[in-house]
């Protein structure tokens, strides 16, 4: 009993000392509880140095949290309870959040750097006039492959993945829309297709792919592909560029049947408390130099036209990650299919995962 009391006292003592120290540290750096900004972003999706720089320049303390799917992010924001001042959802999530009144309008007069964004990425169907969102990054879904492990074979299309030589060589990203979309695209259907017959056809086609699929994984896919655990991976373009910077052998291709074109935009959710600070942060990220630094760190494509000038030519000139409008015109943006259809996509994805041949 005595020992127990002693142990608990020790734990409490340590906790109190730590709380006191953090409090002291925060107040010496000029942060008070009122002056904070909560940012909710995808994992591994910002250069941490930029956050420090923002804190120094603005005197606002940043609380940074991450999510790994749009759905998880929306659930948390819809529930309320937690303050998020800035979030970075993808396009279909933005239109859904708009529908559910989860966003606050953005005051363009406070965003002096908005003019640097390429007009190609403004005024898009999911948010006309950019009332609620400002572009952060954009990219595609495609195939990363390792020609060395494939004996020099080249991959150009989704249908190449069904090749019998690729047995147990493919890693897929764990996303229902990406994988079902791949199935639909390989059959030349739209990846927003809701026709039941087409979806079943896509699922059957995907089932035929299972002997080639080694695993369906999350963020680990980057580490696994860079480590040559498998020769082929279906990934988002930014992940691809990150993997390729770690392993030069790899190449990235946007499949010729078409694929997904996506946008991640900054928004101010309804849970925001520091709306002024949120605008300040968004404007900070729109600054061409900051956008360039961020793009170089994260590896995704920046929509900031001026920032391209600050990027090295081998990044800004890389057609795989900055494809011409002629290529992106053939790609599709995800529509908000509605809860029921999304659930159906997930059900099909689950069936595909469980399929054993």
């Amino acid at each position: 009993m005595k020992q127990l009391v002693r142990m608990f006292t020790a734990v409490f003592l340590v906790a109190f000392v730590l709380i006191y120290v953090t409090f002291q540290l925060n107040s010496t750096e000029g942060y008070s509880s009122g002056n904070t900004l909560s940012i909710y972003n995808w994992g591994d999706y910002i250069d941490p140095d930029l956050l420090k720089q923002f804190e120094q320049e603005s005197g606002i303390k940043v609380i940074y949290q991450t999510f790994d799917s749009n759905e998880a992010m929306m659930t948390k924001i819809a529930q309320g309870g937690t303050t998020f001042d800035v979030a970075v959802p993808s396009e279909y999530a933005i239109s859904k959040m708009k529908e559910e009144n989860l966003l606050l309008p953005i005051d363009h007069s406070k965003l002096s750097n908005l003019k640097y964004i390429n007009p190609r990425f403004l005024n898009l169907s999911f948010d006309k006039e950019n009332q609620y969102s400002v572009p952060y990054f954009w990219g595609t879904v495609g195939i990363v492959y390792n020609p060395k492990l494939l004996g020099g074979k080249e991959i150009t299309s989704w249908n190449d993945l069904w090749d019998g030589d690729l047995r147990n060589q493919i890693l897929l990203v764990d996303g229902a829309r990406e994988v079902i979309g791949m199935g639909l695209n390989s059959l030349h259907y739209s990846l927003n297709d809701t026709d039941e017959a087409h979806l079943q056809e896509a699922k059957n086609k995907l089932n035929a792919l299972t002997p080639n699929v080694k695993a369906i994984v999350g963020d680990e896919i980057k580490m696994l592909l860079a480590g040559e655990e498998a020769a082929v991976g279906v990934v988002w373009s930014g992940d691809a560029s990150e993997i390729m910077s770690e392993n030069d052998e790899l190449d990235y291709v946007i499949p010729e049947e078409g694929s997904n074109l996506w946008f991640d935009n900054m928004v101010i959710p309804k849970t925001a408390k520091n709306i002024e600070g949120a605008h300040e942060f968004i404007n900070f990220m729109l600054d061409p130099e900051h956008a360039a630094q961020n793009a170089e760190y994260v590896g995704y494509s920046t929509p900031n036209e001026k920032a391209l000038e600050y990027l090295p030519e081998e990044i800004a000139g890389d057609k795989r990650f900055y494809p011409d409008p002629s290529v992106t015109d053939k790609l599709e943006v995800y529509d908000n299919l509605g809860k029921r259809m999304l659930a159906h996509y997930n059900e099909l994805f689950l069936e595909f995962k469980m399929y054993k041949n």
Binding site: S69, E71, A72, M74, T75, N168, L171, D174, A176, K214, A215, I216, V217, G218, E220, M223, L224, G227, E228, E229, K339, R340, L342, A343, N346, E347, L350, E351, K353, M354
Partner: protein, 266 residues
């Protein structure tokens, strides 16, 4: 008077149980009757009896059974050996030690160990067997799960073995029983409670494993836990997620009763 104070002590306990055990279960039950658009429905239950979820249930049970069986096979001899050692507490500590490390961290470590170029394959190479795919197979899934659950199986069995009166074993040997008979007729029956407790501590969490199915099995093993995670985080179909949870709770209750201690009040 004495009765009153006793009731007073009960208040925190009752509160705790109501708030954190009864209320969540009722909430799950309540949510399971709503579809994705918030309409009252029994559809989730009919969906559960579709081939997709039934196969998933079967495979969850099968894997949980295998995990429990292998854990028991390894843990019983280990616990037995532990009781015979000199520095019992130290050895026991060493077995418990890995459970202090975060589960995610351990899973990530196995990604490296079992990888194509990892130490496990290097060892196979040296032994002349040649590199094999270890990661993303049933084997790696079972291995890592067993590794994670073993401390929970060893502890109750160790405790049961420690409590066993050694004179009973001596008596059995004196009366001419072989060591196998002694084990089968004396030691094992007397430590059965520990085995049951260990099985409960392993089987029930194993039934709803989810993270390892993605990290180590690459989603090639799908358990009910994976489906619940999907429904709550991705599809936002809380109704279906809750329905699966209800079935898990029922399954666990059945398992608890089946392995429960029937000799009450000793």
């Amino acid at each position: 008077m004495q009765n009153k104070t006793r009731n007073l002590y009960l208040i925190p306990y009752v509160f705790w149980i109501l708030l954190f055990v009864i209320a969540p279960i009722l909430l799950i039950l309540y949510y399971s009757f709503f579809d994705i658009e918030g309409q009252f429905t029994l559809g989730n239950y009919t969906d559960f009896f579709s081939p997709v979820y039934l196969t998933m249930t079967l495979s969850s049970f099968w894997y949980a059974f295998l995990i429990t069986a292998f854990s028991l096979l390894i843990a019983y001899p280990t616990a037995y050996l532990l009781t015979k050692l000199k520095h019992k507490q130290l050895w026991l500590l060493l077995i418990i030690l890995p459970s202090w490390i975060n589960l995610l961290l351990k899973a990530y470590a196995f990604l490296g160990i079992f990888g194509t170029y990892g130490p496990a394959n290097a060892l196979l190479e040296v032994l002349g067997i040649g590199a094999k795919q270890i990661l993303f197979t049933d084997f790696s899934f079972l291995f890592v799960s067993v590794y994670i659950f073993i401390p929970f199986m060893v502890l109750p069995i160790y405790n049961a073995l420690e409590k066993l009166n050694p004179s009973l074993v001596d008596a059995s040997r004196d009366l001419g029983a072989s060591s196998w008979t002694t084990f089968r007729r004396v030691i094992f029956p007397l430590t059965l409670d520990g085995v049951k407790a260990g099985c409960q501590a392993v089987f029930i969490p194993a039934l709803s494993l989810f993270m390892i199915t993605r990290l180590i099995a690459g989603n090639r093993v799908i358990t009910l836990g994976t489906a619940i995670e999907q429904h709550f985080l991705v599809t936002q179909d809380w109704g279906m997620g809750s329905t699966i949870a209800v079935f898990l709770i029922i399954a666990m209750a059945v398992f608890m009763i089946a392995t429960g201690n029937r000799r009450r009040g000793i």
